[in-house]
Symmetry: C2
Subunit: 216 residues, 2 copies
């Protein structure tokens, strides 16, 4: 059983290596975890001893199959709890992350299963991020982002990538809420920025912003 800290490291490695399973550097981890590089090195040695990561000093680290499984389970719990908080306890989607950071460490497979059933076995959390199944497998069809939407099409806002808080706040500030309808009016060829109609208003979204908004 990983400790709370170990779980956070595994989760951070999963996040930073992404689909690609690319090696993650000590400094990247230190930045993500808000810790010093020396602390990260020490923890990586320990995770490596426990066979949860493949660690080459000076070269970086990636998850072993066992580590992937553990990290996916934590992520599953995190996203299930976020779903619970939004759907059942009526939290705003931008305020659930912190609490879910705590709840994700509760260790009870039965609780996780029952919670998932209680929520109707959701495949995506309120931010639009996929929820791994009990075996750590992510749902098939990936979400489309606003970048992929050609001019003239209407879409519904589903969420933002990884539930990034700052970005979430930015989107809300623009007046965009979950479930809102957007229509892509035009895409600028030179920088891929989009002109988007939101009700009466016309907004400009950078390519980066558009790539981080999930739509349906």
């Amino acid at each position: 059983m990983p400790s709370l800290s170990e779980e956070n490291y595994l989760k951070a490695i999963l996040f930073l290596s992404g689909q690609t399973q690319a090696a993650v550097s000590t400094n990247e981890l230190a930045a993500r975890l808000d810790a010093k590089a020396a602390s990260v090195t020490e923890m990586l040695r320990r995770l490596s001893e426990k066979k949860w990561v493949e660690y080459r000093p000076y070269k970086g680290v990636y998850l072993s199959p066992a580590g992937q499984d553990l990290a996916a389970k934590v992520l599953r719990k995190h996203r299930l709890w976020e779903t619970f908080l939004v759907e059942k306890l009526h939290f705003g989607w931008e305020e659930v992350h912190e609490v879910a950071e705590q709840l994700e460490h509760i260790s009870s497979p039965k609780l996780t299963d029952r919670l998932s059933a209680f929520l109707g076995h959701p495949e995506y959390d309120p931010h639009g991020d996929p929820i791994p199944d009990p075996n750590g497998v992510f749902p098939k069809r990936p979400k489309r982002t606003l970048s992929e939407v050609p001019a003239g099409q209407k879409v519904l806002v589903q969420g933002v990538r990884d539930g990034d808080s700052d970005f979430l706040r930015y989107v809300r500030q623009l007046g965009i809420a979950l479930g809102d309808e957007l229509e892509v009016e035009a895409v600028q060829p030179f920088d891929q920025s989009q002109q988007v109609r939101h009700g009466e208003r016309l907004l400009t979204l950078s390519a980066i912003a558009a790539a981080n908004i999930y739509v349906l």
Copy 2:
């Protein structure tokens, strides 16, 4: 903010001192927390420094008002989560304690409030134990125990005191479940033991057992 360990100590002191607020001994705490006496002494010194307990070496310890408040809040969370697990996730009342031991340490006043509302602001948990309000105040009317029921009366089983696991198992073994109807047939004058009808069957319950079964 108390640490997880500190919360467990405060909760244990609350439990052992009960209503009376009597001083609790080092060994009692060590037994309850499954720790060594030396560890308890050390922690009591620290809790005392933080003004959460009144501690006199060799004399025992009791909660300060601040400590009472903290302990009650943890207990509130514990019992709310137990209620959630039983009522919403259909756990058995005897299997919720362990998970609630983890959930009780989640720190989010908003979550606690919302959870309480979601459950309809219950005053008693599935074991029949009272749930303190957000200010640490316990509900007024205390539950009646089977001991107080005179011969000839019918009652519904509500729970057992403090959710004691061993006792819970004993009661279940007798075939008694939450919500079952019992009829007190007779009370023995010499030892206060009771003859109780449970459906077709006639059971004998000791005074101690009867005093630990909550009824309505």
